[in-house]
């Protein structure tokens, strides 16, 4: 029955959004900066994943390395730029972020890096099985996405609520200055934050690279725009909000296309939703201020 199939496809699609958006909302939570350059670590993650997979043939290794590298690149980005802009007016890191985004995406497209063509990442379902029920079916790749997404989200949740640094993050997200005043090591928290958020984006990149069997320099653009929309919908800085918003957006996209087709491209639709949201409920579904 197409409805159930559309539903399950939408959930998987949401899975491809969630990790990217979660990373972004984490960064925003503390930094209060729209880290547009998030797209770059997503793409770098996919690229590294591709390299490692081609070399070692193992998906899980590729995923781990990709996450690690993305995380490190994320921290580097922070240390070289935003770190110096913490007290500047908000437009300054915003513009810097745009600059980073533009610069990195262009560089990645050069021949000595990723080149202009798309490359295949044929990791398949990494050995996971196909799930077939009478209502819907999930291909191994789709199962992979769900498994990895859920697992990573669980890990993130645990880190945020059970570890010191996670609690420090939550404090800093609520009030940066206050958190510093009560002894939270802001530098460490922010750096860790960037690491984790970027690692999640890198994971998202690898997953999407496997899902669509293609890796290319501009693959991060659209997902990062979607991620912004999602974090606004879900309420900036709210992880549960991000999850719900991702699901909602994926559902709307899927069912809209399945019923009336592409009256507008999906990204335009998503942005329309965003604009309406901003007009009528700027703090998102679950955000508060």
């Amino acid at each position: 029955m197409p409805f159930m199939q559309n539903l399950s496809n939408a959930v998987v699609l949401a899975g491809t959004y969630i990790l990217m958006a979660a990373g972004l909302t984490m960064v925003y939570g503390v930094l209060k900066v729209l880290h547009i350059a998030h797209a770059a670590v997503y793409t770098i993650g996919a690229f590294i994943g591709l390299l490692v997979f081609t070399w070692a043939g193992n998906f899980w290794l590729a995923l781990a390395v990709a996450m690690l590298v993305s995380g490190i690149v994320g921290v580097l980005i922070y240390r070289c730029t935003y770190h110096y802009m913490l007290d500047a007016p908000r437009t300054v890191p915003l513009i810097a972020s745009i600059g980073l985004f533009v610069m990195l995406t262009d560089l990645l497209q050069k021949g000595f890096l990723m080149g202009p063509y798309q490359k295949a990442l044929p990791a398949g379902g990494a050995g996971l099985p196909r799930i077939q029920t009478s209502w819907f079916s999930l291909t191994p790749k789709q199962v992979l996405i769900l498994v990895v997404t859920v697992a990573l989200l669980a890990v993130v949740y645990l880190i945020l609520t059970r570890t010191r640094i996670g609690l420090g993050w939550q404090a800093a997200a609520m009030d940066r200055d206050m958190a510093a005043a009560v002894g939270v090591n802001l530098n460490r928290v922010i750096a860790f934050n960037f690491f984790l958020g970027s690692a999640l984006a890198g994971a998202a990149g690898v997953l999407v690279g496997v899902y669509n069997n293609s890796v290319f320099a501009t693959m991060g653009d659209l997902p990062s725009y979607k991620a912004f929309i999602i974090i606004v919908l879900g309420g900036m800085g709210s992880l549960p909000g991000t999850i719900i918003a991702s699901l909602l957006l994926a559902l709307v996209e899927n069912f809209l296309v399945a019923s009336v087709g592409y009256v507008l491209p999906r990204d335009a639709i998503a942005f329309l939703v965003l604009i309406l949201m901003l007009m009528f409920r700027p703090h998102g579904l679950l955000g508060q201020e």
Binding site: A88, I98, D106, L274
Partner: protein, 301 residues
């Protein structure tokens, strides 16, 4: 002797100077950071193209029509700025850009994917010109006009109101400045001027396709404003000139255009967020220091 090539580069530079100046009114003066300026550029271009193609109206009507229509649409599209600020506004303007381009592509009235072609060259008193010195003069006349508007805005009460809104919206409201009204004014003026630039662009190239006005182009215009010095009269002009002419003159810049744009933005934000010749920049202070007149009371902005 100026070749057609140099003139055409100068024409494009003039158009982008206009765009940068118009964005500066919105972002620099009124403090509304917009990543959707290319949408207004496009709306102006398409409006004038449709007026001349489908209704056969003469150039001046198309030009004024583009300005007025884009200004009106700008007022409507500026509504989100009444609800949100800063990052959220940036996202909203980005979204507007995407939606506008999607409409150009998917609605057949605007030519859709096939674009609009055979836009007639402007003609005045029977003399038709699509390039060369006459067109150059036209473009730069409009750029100068835009500059004058910017100057006027910055010096009058409208500018003052913008300034207060930019610095502190709550304070502005507290002293009786109608914040929503002035935000909408800013959008109206800024988009109207961008629409005029769009008309000039469309009639010069002769054809329009939706992808010319994508989001990345908004980033380019914003870069010009920021690089030169946001909130000043001279900054956007210099920024536009350098960033538009450089790829033409230097091949390396052409091939690595966006890497350089991006790097420039980051570097500027790190070291000279006020722009290359912004009010507080090293370069500007050095220059003004050199030419400072003795004794005359000068207000350091």
């Amino acid at each position: 002797m100026f070749s057609g090539y140099i003139i055409s580069v100068a024409i494009f530079v003039g158009i982008w100077v206009t765009l940068a100046l118009s964005l500066n009114i919105l972002t620099g003066y009124a403090g509304q950071v917009s990543l959707g300026h290319a949408a207004f550029f496009g709306i102006g271009a398409y409006t004038s193209a449709i007026l001349s193609l489908k209704y056969g109206l003469p150039f001046w009507v198309d030009f004024l029509g583009a300005i007025i229509v884009t200004g009106l649409i700008g007022m409507v599209l500026g509504l989100p700025s009444l609800r949100v600020r800063h990052d959220f506004l940036v996202l909203a303007t980005m979204g507007i850009n995407f939606v506008v381009v999607a409409v150009f592509k998917y609605v057949d009235f605007f030519g859709g994917a096939m674009g609009l072609i055979n836009i007639p060259a402007p003609s005045i008193l029977g003399y038709s010109f699509r390039g060369g010195f006459p067109y150059l003069a036209l473009v730069w006349a409009f750029a100068t006009f835009t500059w004058l508007v910017s100057w006027y805005v910055s010096k009058t009460w409208v500018g003052l109101a913008f300034h207060t809104v930019r610095i502190d919206e709550e304070a502005a409201a507290a002293v009786g400045v109608s914040v929503p009204r002035f935000k909408i004014y800013a959008f109206a003026i800024s988009s109207a001027l961008a629409g005029g630039a769009g008309c000039l662009y469309g009639h010069f190239i002769g054809s329009l396709f939706p992808d010319t006005f994508v989001f990345v182009e908004s980033i380019v215009v914003l870069s010009m404003v920021i690089f030169g010095g946001v909130g000043t009269l001279r900054g956007p002009v210099l920024g536009a000139i350098i960033l538009k002419a450089a790829p033409e003159l230097l091949r390396f810049v052409q091939d690595y255009r966006f890497t350089i744009y991006g790097a420039l933005l980051v570097l500027m934000m790190l070291f000279q967020p006020m722009g290359l010749i912004g009010d507080d920049s090293l370069l500007w202070r050095s220059l003004t220091h050199l030419f400072r007149r003795e004794g005359v009371g000068e207000v350091d902005s």
